[in-house]
C-alpha cells in the first residue's frame, strides 16, 4: 500500500444556476493575458450541448485518454511513445482555434473618437488572433441555455444511442449546467503524453501542474487530455492548465472558482488513495466497473492500518484529520452520491459531480403531482429514462444503476426533510427505501443544503517549514534553482517575484469584518488573524497585528 493524498472537488449540479461567475473570476485570476484569450481553465457548459471545445467528448475523433488493449494493458488512445515522437512535428489530433473559438475584442476607440453624426457609431468586433474585423459566430458558451439547440445540442456526442428516445423533446424536458475544471486525475493522460516530462503530479496533494521551464511546446498534452483541459498559450508557446489555485490551497483558502461560487455548490477536501492500485483500477475490463474500481482505490482514513501506512508515507497528522473531515470523502464514500465525469476515459478523474435531480422534479411539478413525495419522485426517476440515461452517459459510462441510486437518495432526502421542515416526525421508511440511516440523510442534507463555508472547504495547509517556498508568501529567491541565489538581470527569472494570490484591500476587509470567515484552520490558528501590513492605514490595531497576550478579548 502506497498512501497518497489528493486534493479533490465535488460539485453539486442541482445547485448550479449557470451564472458563469466561477468562469469569470477564474479568467480574471489566471487567463486574463495575451496568448490565453480563448482559454477557460473553468468553463460552464449547458447540457445537452456541445461543450467547450466543441464536441470534446467524442474520443473517436479526438483520441484523448486511455484505452484498454486486448491483453488487459492500458495504452494512450492516440498511440504510444514511438507514435508520439513520429507525430511530433505536427500533432494530427490537436484542436484548432476554430474548435475553441476565435477570441475577439471591440473597437471601442470609434465610440470615443467618432465625430458628431446622424447615426450612432458602432464598435465592431475584431479578432484577437488576426487583428481583423470578424463576425462573432461561436464562443466558449455559444449554446448556453440550449441556444440554437436544434443545430448544436443535437450534435452532442453524449446523445449517442439515445437519439431516438430524445427526439429533441429534451428542450421541454430537461437541461442542466456542467461546470468543468481540470480533473487532476490519478492517472493523467496529459502527463503521460508529454514528451518533455514537463507535466507532473505533485506528490503532496496530487495537483497536476505544467512546469513552464520544462515545457517545450510539443502540444501532445492538449490532444492527450480527453477533457481538453490543457491549453496552448499561443504567445509563449507553452501549455497551460488549471492549477487548482495551488497558491491559495497551500495556505488553506479554497480555489477562486469555489470561493466565488454563488450557488455554494463546490466542495474541496482530501482523498487518500493507494497509488499502487491506480493502474490496476484504470485497467478494469468493463467500463461500467470503472466507477466502483475507482472507489476501491480510495482509502479509509479511519482505518488504523491506513493510518499507520500514511504515517510511514510521511502524511502529517493534520492532513489525516482533514481526510477524516473531508466533505468530498463523505459525498463519494459515505453517502455515495458523487460520481466521476467520464470514468470510461480511464484517467481516474478527481473532480466528481452530484447529478442533478431537478430535471425530474420539474417534470413531476408540471404534471401537477406533489414533487416532494418520495413515491412520485421514485416513479418519475424510473419512468423518465431520458435524463437518467443521459446522466449515465456522462458519469458512469452509460450504467444507469448508480445514477438511479443517487437520484433516489436525493429524492428521499427532499421528501424526508419536508416532513421535518413542516414540524412532523421524520419518516424512517423513506431513509430505509434508499438504504440509508435517518441521521445520515439529515447530515447529508446539512452538507448539501446548509453547506457552511467550513463544511464545504476542509483544506489542510502546507507546512511551516516549507513556507518560504510557497507562492503566496514568496520569500524564496525565484532564481535560486539556477544556483547562487542571485537574481539575474536577464530573462524571465529577473526582477522580484509576483505572488499569484495576494489579497487586495477589499478582500482583506471582508475577511476581517465578516463573522463567517472566523474559520479554524486545521493546523491551528485562524484565517481572520492574517494581517496584511501593506494595506494597514496605520490607524488603530487590527486583530492579529500583535500575537494574543493571553488576555481574553
Amino acid at each position: 500500500m502506497r498512501v497518497m493524498a489528493q486534493m479533490a472537488m465535488v460539485m453539486n449540479l442541482d445547485k448550479c444556476i449557470g451564472c458563469h461567475t466561477c468562469s469569470v473570476t477564474c479568467k480574471q485570476a489566471w487567463t486574463n493575458r495575451a496568448g490565453t484569450e480563448y482559454v477557460w481553465f473553468n468553463n460552464v457548459e449547458t447540457r445537452p450541448g456541445l461543450g467547450y471545445p466543441r464536441g470534446y467528448q467524442d474520443q473517436e475523433r479526438w483520441k484523448g485518454g486511455w484505452v484498454r488493449k486486448g491483453n488487459g494493458k492500458l495504452a494512450l488512445r492516440a498511440g504510444g511513445r514511438w507514435q508520439k515522437l513520429a507525430n511530433i512535428f505536427s500533432n494530427p489530433k490537436m484542436p484548432s482555434i476554430e474548435d475553441y473559438y476565435e477570441p475577439w475584442t471591440y473597437d471601442y476607440d470609434t465610440l470615443l473618437n467618432a465625430p458628431a453624426q446622424k447615426n450612432f457609431p458602432v464598435a465592431r468586433p475584431h479578432s484577437l488572433i488576426s487583428g481583423k474585423p470578424m463576425n462573432v459566430s461561436w464562443s466558449a458558451n455559444w449554446d448556453d441555455d440550449l441556444g440554437g439547440s436544434r443545430e448544436h445540442a443535437a450534435k452532442d456526442p453524449m446523445l449517442k444511442g439515445i437519439e431516438d428516445k430524445v427526439k429533441f423533446e429534451f428542450e421541454q424536458t430537461f437541461m442542466f449546467y456542467l461546470p468543468r475544471i481540470c480533473e487532476h486525475c490519478l492517472n493523467p493522460s496529459c502527463a503521460a503524453s508529454c514528451p518533455s516530462g514537463a507535466i507532473y503530479k505533485r506528490s503532496e496533494d496530487g495537483i497536476v501542474l505544467v512546469d513552464q521551464d520544462k515545457c517545450r511546446g510539443w502540444r501532445m498534452c492538449i490532444s492527450g487530455c480527453p477533457y481538453k483541459k490543457v491549453y496552448f498559450n499561443h504567445k509563449t508557446g507553452k501549455a497551460e492548465k488549471c492549477t487548482f489555485c495551488y497558491p491559495r490551497v497551500e495556505v488553506g483558502i479554497p480555489t477562486v472558482c469555489s470561493e466565488t461560487c454563488v450557488g455554494r455548490l463546490r466542495y474541496i477536501g482530501i482523498m487518500l488513495y493507494d497509488a499502487d492500485r491506480v493502474l490496476e483500477a484504470a485497467s478494469t475490463e468493463s467500463e461500467h466497473g470503472l466507477y466502483e474500481a475507482q472507489r476501491d482505490v480510495f482509502l479509509d482514513p479511519f482505518d488504523p492500518e491506513v493510518q499507520r501506512a500514511a504515517e510511514a508515507a510521511g502524511i502529517p497528522g493534520d492532513w489525516m484529520e482533514a481526510a477524516r473531515k473531508s466533505p468530498v470523502r463523505r459525498l463519494i464514500m459515505d453517502y455515495k452520491v458523487a460520481l466521476p465525469l467520464h470514468p470510461e476515459y480511464r484517467t481516474m478523474p478527481m473532480v466528481w459531480y452530484i447529478p442533478p435531480l431537478s430535471p425530474v422534479v420539474d417534470v413531476v411539478k408540471e404534471t401537477g403531482h406533489d414533487a416532494e413525495d418520495k413515491d412520485n419522485l421514485f416513479n418519475a426517476i424510473e419512468t423518465l429514462r431520458i435524463p437518467v440515461e443521459y446522466l449515465a452517459n456522462l458519469f458512469t459510462a452509460g450504467d444507469v444503476g448508480p445514477v438511479n441510486d443517487v437520484l433516489r437518495k436525493m429524492a428521499a432526502m427532499r421528501s424526508y426533510m419536508r416532513d421535518i421542515n413542516l414540524g412532523r416526525d421524520g419518516n424512517p421508511a423513506i431513509a430505509e427505501a434508499v438504504g440509508m440511516r435517518e441521521e445520515d440523510l439529515y447530515e447529508m442534507f446539512r452538507l448539501l443544503a446548509i453547506a457552511k463555508y467550513a463544511d464545504r472547504y476542509v483544506i489542510p495547509t502546507a507546512h511551516a517549514e516549507q513556507a518560504h517556498a510557497l507562492e503566496e508568501l514568496a520569500t524564496d529567491c525565484p532564481v535560486s534553482e539556477y544556483g547562487g541565489g542571485q537574481q539575474g538581470p536577464f530573462g524571465e527569472g529577473s526582477g522580484a517575484p509576483t505572488p499569484v494570490a495576494v489579497e487586495n484591500f477589499r478582500a482583506l476587509q471582508a475577511r476581517q469584518t465578516s463573522d463567517s470567515y472566523e474559520t479554524e484552520l486545521i493546523g491551528g490558528g485562524n484565517k481572520a488573524g492574517r494581517v496584511n501590513l501593506l494595506n494597514w492605514d496605520g490607524v488603530g490595531t487590527p486583530d492579529g497585528l500583535f500575537p494574543d497576550n493571553g488576555e481574553s478579548k
Partner: protein
C-alpha cells in the same frame, strides 16, 4: 582574409553557439520552446512540417557522414568513390528535396495565413533568411557539383571535410577551404553565421528533442520540496544535518 574567413570567423561563431546556448538555458528556460503555430492553422502544417523536419534530419545525417567520416575510413572498408557518391546522392537528394519542399510550404503558410504571419517576429524572419539560404545553397552545391558537374568535379571530401574536422581538432587549416568552389564557400560561411544566430532564435528547440520520453515512466510525480526525504509536510533534512553513519 583567408585566415579570418576560415579560422577566426568559424571559431567566433562556434564560441557564440556554445556560450549562447548556455546563457539562454540559464536565463530563459521559459522562452525555450518550439513556438508552434499549429493552433492557428493545421492543413498546410500537416504536410509542410513533417516534410521539412524529417528532410532536415536526413540532411543532418548526410552531413555527419560527409563531414565527420574521413575518406580514408570509407576507402579502408573498400567503398570506392563512385559508390560512395551514389549512396550520398540516393540518400541526400530525397532528403534535400523533402526539406526544400517542406520549407517552401512552411514559408508560404507563414506569409499567407494572417495569424501565423502576425506571430512572426523580426528574429524569426532573419533566422528564416539564413536557414533558407543555407539550405538552397546546399542543394545547389549537390546538384551543380555532383550531378551536373559544373566547372569540373569537386570532391568536398578532399577540401571541405578535412577543413571542418581541422577546426575541431584545434589545428585549423585555412588552405584546405581556400581552394573550394564559391558555392561551398558561401554555404559554409552562411552555415557558421546561422550557428552564431542559433542560440538566440527558436532553433534552440532542436536541443530539446524529447528522447527521454522513450524511457521515462508515464506519470511523473514531483514534490514541492525536491530534497530527498521531504514527504507531505514532513521536514527534509537541512544541509549539514546528515545523520552520522558508522562506516566499518
Amino acid at each position: 582574409m583567408k585566415n579570418f574567413l576560415w579560422v577566426i570567423f568559424p571559431y567566433i561563431c562556434l564560441a557564440i553557439f556554445v556560450v549562447g546556448h548556455f546563457w539562454r538555458y540559464k536565463y530563459d528556460k521559459f522562452g525555450w520552446t518550439t513556438r508552434s503555430s499549429q493552433l492557428y492553422e493545421t492543413g498546410l502544417l500537416r504536410w509542410g512540417s513533417p516534410l521539412f523536419h524529417f528532410g532536415m534530419l536526413g540532411v543532418v545525417m548526410g552531413h555527419v557522414m560527409g563531414l565527420l567520416v574521413p575518406q580514408s575510413w570509407t576507402d579502408a572498408i573498400g567503398l570506392d568513390r563512385h559508390t560512395y557518391h551514389l549512396i550520398a546522392l540516393i540518400g541526400g537528394i530525397p532528403a534535400g528535396v523533402a526539406a526544400v519542399v517542406g520549407m517552401l510550404i512552411l514559408i508560404y503558410r507563414r506569409r499567407t495565413v494572417g495569424p501565423v504571419f502576425s506571430a512572426t517576429t523580426v528574429n524569426d524572419k532573419v533566422m528564416y533568411l539564413f536557414l533558407a539560404a543555407v539550405i538552397l545553397l546546399g542543394i545547389w552545391n549537390t546538384i551543380a557539383g555532383s550531378l551536373l558537374q559544373f566547372g569540373g568535379e569537386y570532391n568536398y571530401r578532399d577540401g571541405v571535410s578535412p577543413w571542418f574536422r581541422s577546426i575541431f581538432t584545434l589545428q585549423p587549416d585555412a588552405d584546405l577551404m581556400a581552394g573550394a568552389p564559391l558555392g561551398f564557400k558561401i554555404h559554409a560561411l552562411l552555415a557558421f553565421t546561422l550557428f552564431a544566430l542559433w542560440p538566440f532564435t527558436r532553433l534552440v528547440h532542436v536541443f530539446s528533442a524529447p528522447l527521454g520520453y522513450l524511457t521515462r515512466p508515464y506519470i511523473v510525480y514531483r514534490s514541492k520540496d525536491e530534497r530527498v526525504g521531504s514527504g507531505v509536510g514532513s521536514r527534509a533534512p537541512q544541509r549539514g544535518w546528515d545523520k552520522s553513519e558508522l562506516k566499518r
